[in-house]
Symmetry: C2
Subunit: 339 residues, 2 copies
DNA sequence: TACCTTTGTGTAACCCGTTACACATATTTT
DNA sequence: AAAATATGTGTAACGGGTTACACAAAGGTA
């Protein structure tokens, strides 16, 4: 059915070893022989069988990426960056949704190990470093750090938290609340600490001003409703991610509080969503695509035995000011720009 | 390094054939022997090497899914449905972003063929049926049909288009425009035809009322701006997908047109996004997750040689009415429900 | 000229499972 | 009791590549 290396060898009247040498460009091959073989390959439309090659070489030109849930708007861009980079380098990408469940993570790692997957990019805060060790595969951590021995690609979340909070102060907010992400997720904690760094010097700070949104829009909206009803003095909200910021926007809309005139809102991550709403959402933007291609690049370096330049790669975040933190609703949006 | 079937055989003092019989539960194995082998497997923590198995069996327990772009909000849910179903059945999922480029599609198919990928789920309107034929792999088409010989999982887009348009009429719209998706995409054409089915009987219909949004928010917003400025009589818009509906919402906001009081907007697809905006977006919802698990199920049936029940699987769409098509802004949202 | 190195190619072992086939013993069937 | 069938297990070929090793011929060096 499929043409094999034997067929090509026969067609070109050489041995399989020679064919192998030609297609892999290694060892000595006479110029005439090479041409004969290439002609045979062409004629028979031969494509080497990756599985056979994998078996011998103990590699698969495949990597896995484990994310909590591809439906979370942060991850498609991340995955896209990884996949784009890898296909370019001749690798295919296996997608795994872990739901932050350590058992699922291990199941995926088991399967991948058995398939000789060459390496894994992991977004996780539940996985134990010892587990990774056990599998003895190249691993890099993306968006969330796992252990100092695992090359890590993240942004400075704490500084981002400070940027967001300072921005709200800069535009004149007097009482700033924070919607915090899940307790177990390190980046949520860091963003919160960034907020605290700035806010703890303010004499008006009140512990009620930190609410809990679980990186979920609906929970965030409910919590924001409760907050705004109890503390109508709040005039600025820094949400730990964009989805929660949209929840806050929702709550404000429901309570007929005008954004940004009466309440300024800023999110975190810079997902595409933030440009889609009205008002458009200010955010601390992560270079998601860049981070992911760099992580993929590092993984390939690990796989191919090259030294990793930096174990810890911290990318800069960028404040993007849009309508949700403008005191006058007249800043330039993409819609205006394009007219 | 890794334990192999030989190690297990030695540990249990049996042949490799017997070990293979035990782990695959086929052929005759004495109860005592089985236990001995199982103990050895346990003791050595043996996991069979999938690559060796693949080589012999010419199968890989891996499938591919080709989507235009995982960043498009419609696809994460689709991919999630497929992945969830397949991991359950012991298959892993390779993700491919084609950007609707036939060359990329072929590149992915080449790679997958070489890796003995067992089957492919394709979302494409560019791929030629002859190409699929060439590869001789199990294929199902999802969201977009390819050819009548390829099992297809879609919704009735034309009927959905009619539903959307009729809904706008039902709530009292007098002049209804349509934002059409890309010309080459069949489902965009169908939704447009559904709109026409309803609208062509109206004496007020004007060809200007159909504008072109390319399934893109920004293009849609621009086109809508132009439309509303030229035709202020428009009081209802049916957008060919949710992202374009958000573009229309954006345009309305920019022109200070109140939604839904002055302009009703309805989208198509039912992606999560539609619940996130304020106002929440009415939409013709697709059972995305269901469709994708059914497609995955059919693919497995094909792979394992079972007959496919239906070549063409058309799922029902559902009208979801939310704030963007309510003449009074008081319908129940998830935020209210949860209070 | 004798010896060494480089070039060129084939044979066969190897990667690690699966299974056809052979063979032996146990259980039924007639 | 003989024949037929079911049960249990091992040997070795196989899948389709890669590469160590052997060997031969050509080119270079002293």
């Amino acid at each position: 059915m499929m043409t094999t290396i034997k067929d090509v060898a026969q067609e070109a009247s050489v041995s399989v070893a020679t064919v192998s040498r030609v297609i892999n460009s290694n060892g000595y091959v006479n110029e005439d022989t090479r041409k004969k073989v290439e002609a045979a390959v062409e004629k028979l439309n031969y494509k080497p069988n990756s599985v056979a090659r994998s078996l011998f070489k103990k590699e698969s030109k495949t990597i896995g990426i484990i994310v909590p849930d591809i439906k979370n708007p942060y991850f498609p861009e991340l995955v896209r960056g990884v996949e784009d980079y890898l296909i370019e380098k001749g690798f295919t990408t296996i997608l795994c949704n872990s739901d932050e469940d350590p058992e699922k993570e291990q199941l995926y790692l088991d399967v991948m190990k058995q398939k000789y997957v060459d390496g894994v990019i992991i977004v996780s805060n539940t996985i134990e470093p010892s587990v990774i060790n056990e599998y003895d595969m190249p691993v890099v951590a993306l968006d969330r750090s796992i252990h100092k021995d695992v090359p890590t690609f993240i942004i400075n979340n704490r500084e981002g938290g400070r940027k967001a909070t300072n921005h709200l102060l800069d535009i004149g907010c007097q009482r700033i609340a924070h919607i915090k992400g899940p307790e177990l997720i390190e980046n949520a904690e860091e963003r919160y600490l960034g907020y605290m760094d700035v806010i703890k010097q303010q004499d008006w700070f009140h512990e009620d001003y930190v609410i809990w949104g679980n990186y979920d829009q609906k929970e965030s909206a409910r919590a924001t409703m409760a907050l705004l009803e109890k503390h109508p003095e709040i005039d600025g909200i820094f949400a730990g991610n964009d989805v929660m910021a949209l929840g806050a926007l929702k709550a404000a809309d429901y309570l007929n509080i005008k954004v940004p005139q009466e309440l300024a809102i800023i999110g975190f991550d810079g997902v595409d969503l933030t440009e889609m709403t009205a008002p458009e959402l200010s955010t601390i933007s992560q270079p998601i695509y860049q981070m992911s291609t760099h992580a993929a690049e590092a993984l390939i370096d690990l796989i191919e035995g090259r030294p990793i330049k930096h174990q810890e790669n911290i990318f800069p975040s960028t404040l993007i000011q849009r309508q949700s933190t403008n005191s006058v609703k007249e800043n330039v949006t993409w819609l205006q720009k394009s007219l």
